[in-house]
């Protein structure tokens, strides 16, 4: 019996080693949204300064066979045996909702100063900062430590004054509706529609009504990626623009003339359907020749709202500072309106 046991273990250790060795290396991980470490360069210098050792260790764990499944298994144990409510920085809330556990905001003063400088330089700037689900839906995660986003929004609004677009109230009023995804950190298209109405009210534009079309009923988003266990799936809707889209240029290179991309619906990152995921610069021209231009400095929260905003402008420039960090001033100079649109956590990280 002892021999059998020893053999089982020998096979386990040796087997996993050999399987890892012979299976081809993967380049990137869809669930982790990152490039996976490849075999590092073997050089005397790298070995002596420890770089080779660190990279090789990362290489072994990044390329470990069935990595996503092991994470799913660990989540399963955490959830069902250890009865944890917080797993891999995700809170498991009531009613099938997952929430992201946020780190404390750093650099708050620095970002607020940056914002103040921006609005002073461009006085036609409107600011819309959205709370995330763990603020609006916090009843579903009682006792879990969360960031006081309401206070952060107050700090922002006190700097921006009359050009601040408050979306907290409308989202809070409608919190029993499906305004945030259960498995993803974004708001739903309907949630962004409520914010769009506030935008219109602030700019004295008549808000349009849209037809919402379901484009996916099996969306498992970024929050699910941290757990990899079966959870209730989300539904993604889109709002079809009412004006005609004449031209859409991505990163000044690709002219594709569409706002929606079906290819993402068969991948993990279905939210990428909106605006081909994340680009540094997108330039949209519509057939609404009213001479007005809107430049949006944003994170991915804006992506599902674009098809609603385009209807009121002849030209829309969309800038994501994570991928287009400098040189976008020309676009700001030529705009009739500027909109800063982030979720509050991402604002303090990425603005």
């Amino acid at each position: 019996m002892k021999k059998i046991f020893i053999s089982i273990f020998a096979i386990l250790f040796l087997g996993i080693f050999i399987i890892n060795l012979i299976t081809p290396d993967k380049l990137l991980s869809e669930t982790e949204n990152k490039k996976l470490q490849q075999m590092p360069e073997v050089s005397v210098e790298n070995i002596m300064n420890g770089k080779f050792e660190d990279q090789y260790e990362t290489y072994v764990s990044d390329q470990f066979i069935l990595r996503d499944k092991w994470v799913a298994f660990k989540t399963f144990i955490d959830k069902n045996i250890l009865l944890k409510k917080e797993i891999n920085d995700i809170y498991i809330g009531n009613d099938n909702y997952l929430f992201e556990k946020h780190e404390n905001i750093e650099n708050k003063e620095q970002k607020l100063n940056k914002l103040e400088k921006f609005i002073n330089q461009y006085p036609n700037t409107f600011v819309m900062i959205a709370p995330t689900s763990d603020e609006i839906l916090k009843d579903k995660i009682k006792y879990m430590p969360t960031i006081d986003e309401y206070a952060l929004l107050k700090d922002i609004s006190s700097i921006v004054n009359d050009k601040y677009i408050d979306v907290y109230s409308t989202l809070n009023k409608n919190k029993d509706k499906y305004i945030y995804y259960m498995t993803d950190h974004h708001w739903t298209t309907y949630g962004s529609y409520l914010a769009y109405i506030e935008f219109c009210n602030k700019l004295n534009i008549e808000p349009l009504t849209f037809k919402f079309e379901t484009i996916s009923d099996n969306f498992l988003g970024t929050l699910h990626s941290r757990l990899n266990i079966p959870v209730k799936e989300d539904i993604i809707e889109k709002a079809n623009p009412i004006v005609a889209i004449e031209k859409v240029v991505y990163d000044q290179q690709k002219e594709i003339n569409q706002l929606f991309f079906d290819k993402y619906l068969s991948t993990k990152n279905q939210y990428g359907y909106f605006l081909d995921d994340n680009h540094g610069l997108i330039e949209i021209t519509t057939n609404n020749k009213n001479g007005k231009t809107l430049t949006i400095v944003k994170d991915s929260y804006a992506n599902c709202m674009i098809s609603m905003l385009v209807n009121h402008y002849e030209k829309i420039n969309i800038i994501d500072k994570r991928y287009f960090a400098a040189g976008y001033e020309a676009y700001l100079d030529e705009s009739s309106d500027i909109l800063i649109l982030y979720n509050v956590i991402s604002f303090f990280e990425n603005f």
């Binding site: 019996m1 002892k2 021999k3 046991f5 020893i6 089982i8 273990f9 386990l12 250790f13 040796l14 996993i16 080693f17 050999i18 890892n20 991980s29 669930t31 982790e32 949204n33 990152k34 490039k35 070995i47 002596m48 300064n49 420890g50 050792e53 090789y56 260790e57 990362t58 072994v60 764990s61 990044d62 470990f64 990595r67 092991w70 994470v71 298994f73 660990k74 989540t75 144990i77 045996i81 250890l82 009865l83 944890k84 409510k85 917080e86 891999n88 006792y143 879990m144 430590p145 950190h185 970024t222 990626s225 941290r226 995921d277 994340n278 991915s300 994570r322």
Partner: protein, 451 residues
């Protein structure tokens, strides 16, 4: 290299043990030595030279002590052997501590050296020093083969976190060991148990302490303060004893019998008993090589206890809070020896146990918080009845109560399963679960694609 990593478990172990077991006996020690050097150099490409230097130094010191046996030269070489080790340890571990003291007393501003601590230096210097001492006392024979001696110093199982092995304990096994089915079977099981303690218990409960210790202590509720230090209490036990289990297990597979280092310390009924169960090899080392030579309990007992406990504290860390920790226990032990132990027999066991754990847990506050002021703020919060429970403490309970219960259960020898087959089957399952946790530890998805 860390035992609980995919690199160690699924690259180092398969390659090393395959080569080791297919080699003829004469080559086995060379494989073990090379493997151990690679293991150490992997984390410390430069500091491995220190360890090699220590090996060479004590190898020749042993020979010189033996050569001049009976004369004063022998004692001189013992002294120089010890001093070289202590200087090395002192320089790399305690120089900034000393600089801090000098700056404090003389108002100088000598800059700190900020030397990274060489891994395992507290362990291998103590092992090599014990060799010099045992040769001098005639408790072992001199090792004439430098390769075999190098194995004693560098072998990877206990190099990083103990147990501290005296040369005499493995003297014969260095050149003459016969692992058999029973020892390999025992070794694998022991290793898995250690791995589970570290990965499943210590790492999980450690998250609680990491979070709570990074908060502003003056804002903690009483329950939060207790949960935090309880988490640390379990983390350090399962981490440390888990490592010892893994070391002993690996040793057994290779054919070595390392001494036990932990014996369920948290079931102790007195603090005296606690220290017979915690980091046993360290207390034995200090007892045999400092306490008894200083006179033990025959001459100057209080002074000897004071010195030993200052040193024990300092060994754990180069900062004053560790000295406080050592003195805390030194004081309690003196009180126990002089008065308490006599009365304790009359008290029911459960109260003895509560008393002991209270002392130990308060001790851990000294150990785990480096800033002296913060230590007393934290202790204050543990007994502040004005803020007993808050939302955060409820969150910790909701999230970790199962883990806490498991930690309490496994701190005691509750599992006595006779049937070895069942034990093996359970260990197989636990090992698979460990892999899941180890792989997940490096899994960190980003919200948007990182170039």
């Amino acid at each position: 290299m860390v035992f609980s990593s995919t690199l160690f478990l699924f690259v180092f172990i398969p390659v090393f043990f395959l080569l080791y077991f297919i080699s003829p006996s004469k080559i086995k020690n060379i494989i073990l030595l090379i493997g151990s050097l690679i293991f150490y150099a992997w984390g410390e490409p430069i500091y491995i030279l220190l360890m090699i230097f220590s090996t060479i130094s004590d190898f020749f010191h042993g020979k010189l002590i033996e050569k001049y046996r009976g004369t004063t030269k022998s004692k001189i070489f013992l002294t120089s052997g010890l001093i070289i080790n202590l200087l090395m340890l002192g320089f790399f571990k305690y120089s900034d501590f000393l600089i801090g003291i000098i700056n404090g007393i003389f108002n100088t501003s000598i800059p700190f050296l900020n030397l990274p601590l060489p891994i395992g230096i507290s362990f291998y210097t103590f092992q090599t020093m014990s060799y010099d001492i045992e040769v001098y006392r005639g408790q072992c024979k001199v090792q004439k083969n430098i390769l075999d001696f190098a194995i004693f110093v560098t072998m990877f199982p206990q190099l990083v976190a103990g147990p501290i092995v005296n040369y005499s304990q493995v003297e014969n096994e260095l050149t003459n060991r016969e692992p058999n089915i029973d020892s390999i079977y025992y070794g694998i099981n022991r290793f898995i148990i250690g791995l589970c303690k570290k990965v499943l218990l210590a790492n999980n409960i450690g998250i609680v302490w990491t979070e709570i210790s990074s908060k502003n202590f003056s804002e903690l509720s009483m329950l939060t303060a207790w949960l935090g230090i309880l988490a640390f209490t379990f983390q350090i036990y399962f981490d440390f004893s888990g490592y010892s289990d893994m070391a002993i297990g690996l040793g057994k597979i290779l054919g070595f019998n390392f001494p036990e280092n932990f014996n369920f310390p948290y079931i102790a009924k007195t603090v005296t008993d606690f220290w017979r169960r915690w980091h046993i090899t360290l207390s034995s080392w200090f007892r045999d090589n400092v306490y008894i030579p200083l006179g033990g309990n025959r001459k100057h007992q209080l002074r000897n206890i004071f010195i030993v406990w200052c040193l024990t504290g300092l060994w754990h860390g180069a900062a004053f809070n560790f000295v406080l920790w050592g003195l805390w226990f030194g004081t309690i032990l003196i009180i126990e020896k002089k008065f308490l132990l006599k009365y304790f027999e009359k008290i029911p066991g459960i109260f003895q146990h509560i008393y002991t754990m209270l002392i130990v847990i308060i001790g851990w506050v000294f150990f785990s918080v480096e800033n002296i002021k913060d230590i007393f703020v934290y202790l204050g919060k543990m007994f502040a009845f004005d803020n007993i429970i808050d939302n955060y403490s409820i969150y910790v309970v909701l999230n970790y109560f199962i883990i806490f219960i498991l930690c309490i259960l496994f701190s005691a020898p509750i599992l006595k399963i006779k049937n070895k087959n069942i034990v093996s089957a359970i260990n197989c399952i636990l090992f698979i679960i460990c892999i899941a946790y180890i792989v997940s530890a490096s899994y960190n998805p980003f919200l948007y694609f990182r170039f």
